[in-house]
């Protein structure tokens, strides 16, 4: 805590500081520790990229659903039973052989967390945030994805309350797979646009 010298009596170890802050806010009745447990549990166990993977797999097997997803992602996502959320609107952008989409938030950490959970550290890092908009192909190369020069790259910088999810391309040769098997292939990274889905 170097930004405010008056705070120097507070321990510098974040774990101790959080503990002290939590116990103070609980003591004063501002916070219910059971509610904190519920928040942590929700993000560790209930909300995560498996939700997004199910949305993608459904879009791959059901063309009408895919169209609804691209037209109004929130309603299409709610169809699959995920808790409706008030706030950020979700927009799905589709990868094709000719177009590759990449999601970033250069200003902070905006991320489609109702379908992907909380963002990974690299997504929030200075390296990713600074480079994704100026050197998207170099960033993708760092993730092991080399795009052909003729592919159009669309970078979505989440500067408002819209949250973007990439609908990745269905991998070739996956025609025989069930929706559940397809969902198992879909990675978080493919829905941010830094990877393709592989068989």
């Amino acid at each position: 805590m170097v930004h405010d010298h008056e705070h120097q009596a507070v321990p510098s170890d974040p774990a101790l500081r959080v503990k002290a802050l939590e116990s103070l806010l609980v003591e004063k009745g501002f916070v219910d520790p059971a509610a904190l447990d519920a928040v942590v549990d929700t993000f560790e166990h209930k909300i995560g990229p498996r939700n997004g993977a199910r949305v993608v797999a459904r879009a791959w097997v059901d063309p009408a659903y895919k169209q609804r997803l691209l037209d109004n992602a929130e309603d299409a996502i709610a169809e699959l039973g995920y808790p409706s959320q008030h706030g950020e609107h979700i927009v799905a952008v589709e990868n094709t052989p000719a177009v590759h989409n990449l999601i970033v938030c250069t200003l902070c950490s905006c991320y489609p967390w109702p379908v992907l959970g909380l963002p990974p550290v690299w997504y929030k890092s200075s390296a990713y945030r600074s480079r994704a908009v100026i050197d998207p192909r170099g960033v993708l190369r760092e993730f092991g994805l080399e795009l052909r020069e003729e592919v159009e790259v669309r970078v979505w910088d989440s500067t408002a309350e819209l949250r973007y999810i990439v609908l990745p391309e269905r991998p070739a040769g996956s025609g025989e797979l069930t929706e559940d098997q397809l969902a198992a292939l879909v990675t978080r990274d493919s829905m941010v646009g830094v990877a393709k889905v592989r068989l």
Partner: protein
């Protein structure tokens, strides 16, 4: 503000450190600070834009040195004092002052499981859009010292409106509690070459979401 957080297009931040099978929270305190922010946010004393600005106004060297959740912690410690939940002395001692009253928590465990963060949009025919899909627009060359969601790299650059997202609260005024100034937000498509020059690929585009007040006809 032209802060360190506005880092789109900067060089020198290094390579991207990827962690395989990354946990949601690396340490228990990260989950607690995330949850504390939500629980204190439920008091609705501050709005999301003011919250973002608190993170942005961390001193730049601290911002870069701190981990993501350390920033959240630093901002929350500051906020609970600024908004009068606890005194500086209570924060320093980690203990409530003698005889202080006890509140009822704003966030219940049931509500904690709902997803409700964010600033909602709306369809509001009373607020007409100033621009339409297909319009050429220029991002205004604004340099406010307060909160803004208009990144430096897009200012004074020309793009095209590709989608009208509806009506949203304007962050620049909302962060300062100067009013919601609700207005349309659009997806604006910028050619990478327009943003970064001839070295960029002619096939690359950057899409930003922009409020009416960030735009002028081009």
């Amino acid at each position: 503000m032209n802060g360190i957080h506005d880092m789109g297009g900067m060089h020198g931040m290094g390579s991207i450190a990827y962690e395989k099978d990354e946990p949601v929270f690396h340490e228990a305190w990260e989950g607690r600070v995330y949850a504390l922010n939500k629980a204190m946010g439920a008091w609705q004393r501050w709005n999301l834009d003011a919250w973002r600005h608190d993170i942005e106004t961390l001193p730049p060297a601290d911002y870069l040195r701190m981990s993501y959740y350390e920033r959240w912690l630093a901002a929350l410690e500051k906020r609970v004092v600024t908004y009068g939940f606890v005194s500086r002395q209570e924060l320093q001692e980690g203990k409530a002052a003698q005889g202080s009253s006890k509140a009822e928590p704003a966030l219940t465990p049931e509500a904690a499981r709902a997803i409700d963060r964010g600033i909602p949009s709306s369809v509001d025919p009373a607020i007409p859009p100033l621009f339409h899909v297909g319009d050429r627009v220029r991002a205004r060359n604004l340099n406010p010292v307060g909160h803004t969601r208009l990144p430096r790299y897009a200012r004074d650059k020309t793009g095209e409106i590709v989608r009208d997202h509806g009506v949203y609260t304007f962050p620049d005024t909302n962060a300062q509690y100067l009013g919601e100034e609700r207005q349309h937000v659009y997806s604006v498509r910028f050619a990478a070459r327009g943003l970064w020059g001839e070295a960029a690929s002619a096939r690359d585009f950057v899409y930003l979401d922009m409020w009416d007040d960030y735009l002028e006809p081009a």
